[in-house]
Symmetry: C2
Subunit: 97 residues, 2 copies
């Protein structure tokens, strides 16, 4: 099933429920930065996300330095934010709650 980009209204509604994420109008994606106690904690978190991403066949763009992880979610096939990004963001939030 093709994944489509959320329209402006649906995107606004989704973002209201994702206060920890920032919409990036340049990329059409959303970003969140997380800080952990140390590298082992940060990479442990990344490993959990990696398994989730592989199962969902939807992968983040992400950057890590020591205890910091910067995540960018977008759906290239849809040209912007899709429901799959929203689901991934919710899963990430639940994992770090």
């Amino acid at each position: 099933m093709a994944v489509s980009k959320l329209n402006d209204e649906d995107r606004a509604t989704a973002l209201n429920h994702l206060p920890k994420w920032t919409y990036d109008s340049d990329s059409g994606g959303i970003r969140r930065t997380l800080k952990f106690e140390d590298f082992a904690q940060a990479f442990g978190f990344m490993t959990r996300i990696a398994i989730l991403a592989e199962k969902a066949d939807h992968h983040p763009e992400w950057f890590n330095v020591y205890n910091r992880v910067e995540i960018h979610l977008t759906t290239h096939d849809a040209g912007g934010l899709s429901q799959r990004d929203v689901e991934m963001a919710n899963a990430i939030d639940a994992m770090t709650a």
Copy 2:
């Protein structure tokens, strides 16, 4: 033991032995981009590096999207490239040889 930045001559010698790495004069570090078959391969590689980095207490700055991993090595305490970066780069090269 404090880690010191390589002087220009030692850095040039080290870079001669690291043809897959590019010196970034802005950051004072070195960069290498690797491509894998898919995300699972890329993240598997990252996991091996993460364990190595944790053992060495010397962590990369890195970015991943799907099958691509961009690695940046520098030594913040030394203000640039140190022997620890060279050792990490060699270990990464050996792992992907």
